[in-house]
């Protein structure tokens, strides 16, 4: 089902989540934006907000108390804006512990969707690593566990599917980034009952449009999009350029929003997970999921415009 026209129930649920988040937030009340659009997870029909929060680099701040509080402020703004999906990995240094710090400080908002990964070359070390990750987050269980960068994917998928069977995790997925190992990813997608795949996709990195995204739709898998801004390189490259004059037609007032709207308008995409250290950027990112999204003709126009810059 297209999330561009979310069901009334989903809208009400998102509204209730927003209200509860605002009530529990330690930060000053703000004018609440429109609830961000949600997407249905293909394997379950569950609706989740279409813009999540990545934590690669941005939440790896170690023990620095000032920067930990800044990350907690980003989380607070994310929750207040209606964001719920957070993604991390044991590879991301202290990011998991910093998420745990933020959740302990702010409280766990209703509808929080926790996504993490298993990242070790040893299949037998996977369960201990997952348990360590869970303790760092400070949550009873993860919603989604993914095999990071296909590392030891056969052993870890066995572990994750067994955990799903025991209801210790709700969804199972696998990740790649920067277009790597798509052939193997495709093979795994064709043979394994995955709930999610996570790939890199943005207006200039569009390789996944050819095989991975159509296959995800065919196989009923959700798609999480990482590195939507190429770790900031794309937005830095574009920030000196003028937005196209027709960007207002899709409600994009910044390059970041235009890029996110491009990503979210692909029918296979479930969630994009931009990472940021800034409260204003997290609000801007979540807001990209509200309002109109480009149609196929507008998407082609966007690609051409960016290519010509």
């Amino acid at each position: 089902m297209s999330s561009r026209h979310p069901k009334r129930r989903a809208v009400l649920a998102a509204g209730a989540a927003l209200a509860m988040a605002a009530a529990t937030s330690p930060f000053p009340a703000r004018a609440q934006p429109a609830a961000p659009a949600t997407r249905r997870i293909p394997s379950s029909g569950e609706a989740i907000p279409a813009v999540g929060l990545g934590t690669w680099i941005t939440f790896n701040v170690g023990d620095d108390p000032v920067l930990r509080d800044e990350c907690a402020a980003v989380l607070a703004a994310f929750f207040a804006a209606g964001g719920r999906v957070i993604d991390s990995s044991p590879m991301y240094g202290s990011s998991q512990a910093v998420i745990g710090y933020g959740l302990a400080k702010l409280g766990v908002p209703p509808g929080l969707f926790t996504a993490d990964k298993v990242w070790t070359s040893s299949g037998t070390a996977g369960p201990a690593q997952i348990e360590q990750s869970r303790r760092l987050w400070g949550i009873p269980r993860f919603d989604l566990l993914q095999v990071h960068n296909l590392l030891a994917w056969e052993e870890h998928l066995r572990t994750l599917f067994a955990m799903k069977e025991r209801e210790e995790v709700r969804y199972v997925g696998i990740t790649t980034s920067e277009g790597r190992r798509h052939d193997l990813l495709e093979t795994i997608m064709r043979t394994q009952p995955l709930d999610f795949v996570q790939v890199t996709y943005n207006i200039v990195d569009r390789e996944v449009e050819e095989r991975i995204l159509p296959l995800a739709m065919e196989r009923g898998m959700g798609v999480i999009v990482n590195r939507p801004f190429q770790q900031g390189a794309l937005t830095r490259r574009l920030e000196g350029e003028k937005l196209p004059p027709w960007s207002h037609e899709i409600g994009a007032v910044t390059w970041a929003q235009l890029i996110l709207k491009f990503i979210l308008s692909h029918p296979a995409v479930t969630v994009a997970i931009p990472a940021t250290t800034r409260v204003d950027h997290v609000r801007e990112n979540v807001a990209a999921a509200t309002g109109p999204l480009p149609d196929a003709a507008m998407r082609r126009r966007m690609v051409t415009y960016v290519q010509d810059l």
Partner: protein
């Protein structure tokens, strides 16, 4: 294209420059006032080079070993590893360098430090003096807080550069390369980190490594005091 060719240095950088530089501020605050004895130990090394005593050749390696051990535990293991998991593997290697210095220098007496009128000795003294005196000023010159200063025996870069200098001052010999390998590797790693962050001072550890290699390979004449074969 092979998968490994798709990786760049940026793919291995786990943290932002702000987090990295603040780490030095936090570390200096956490270990204060150990900076004072660290500076005094550096000064003591310089004094013993100028006015050597019979025990200098065994005490200087012991000071260096203590510096490597302390940096391994306090900085790499307890501090840097919180944002860079690879440091959990590097810290034991730093400890190994400490043990090597202790074994070859303090216990077996295989190092003979001397100021000689040779190019390697001049390079060695320059590297040591830079590490002890000038490197602490880099943070301020780069526009960062002086609280983020990097000191010998407190943080890795000046400790590694000082070691390169001292090994060159110990002259030639079979044990020089084993003692140089880790400081050289660390300097290259540090360059890669700083370069990836866009920090212009990244050239410093790389230049130090290049000078140390040049000094070690410099043609030597006669049997000067130094590392015993």
């Amino acid at each position: 294209m092979p998968e490994w060719r798709t990786y760049t240095l940026e793919d291995f950088l786990l943290f932002s420059p702000r987090v990295y530089w603040r780490m030095f501020e936090l570390h200096n605050a956490a270990v204060w006032p150990l900076q004072i004895p660290a500076l005094l130990l550096g000064a003591a090394i310089l004094v013993r080079l100028v006015r050597p005593r019979s025990w200098s050749d065994r005490v200087i390696p012991a000071i260096l070993a203590a510096a490597w051990l302390w940096v391994a535990w306090s900085f790499l293991w307890n501090r840097y590893a919180t944002i860079n998991w690879a440091m959990r593997y590097v810290a034991p290697v730093f400890a190994a360098e400490a043990l090597l210095l202790l074994w070859l220098g303090s216990l077996r007496g295989r190092l003979r430090f001397a100021l000689a009128p040779t190019a390697p000795s001049a390079i060695g003294l320059a590297l040591l003096a830079y590490a002890l005196v000038l490197h602490p000023l880099v943070a301020g010159l780069a526009g960062r807080s002086i609280r983020a200063t990097e000191l010998f025996a407190i943080t890795p870069d000046p400790t590694a550069i000082a070691t390169l200098g001292l090994v060159l001052l110990a002259g030639s010999g079979a044990v020089a390369w084993p003692l140089l390998v880790l400081p050289l590797v660390w300097c290259v790693l540090s360059w890669a980190t700083l370069h990836t962050m866009g920090a212009p001072e990244g050239w410093i550890p790389l230049a130090a490594a290049g000078l140390a290699v040049a000094g070690r390979l410099w043609p030597r004449v006669g049997g000067q005091a130094g590392l015993l074969p």
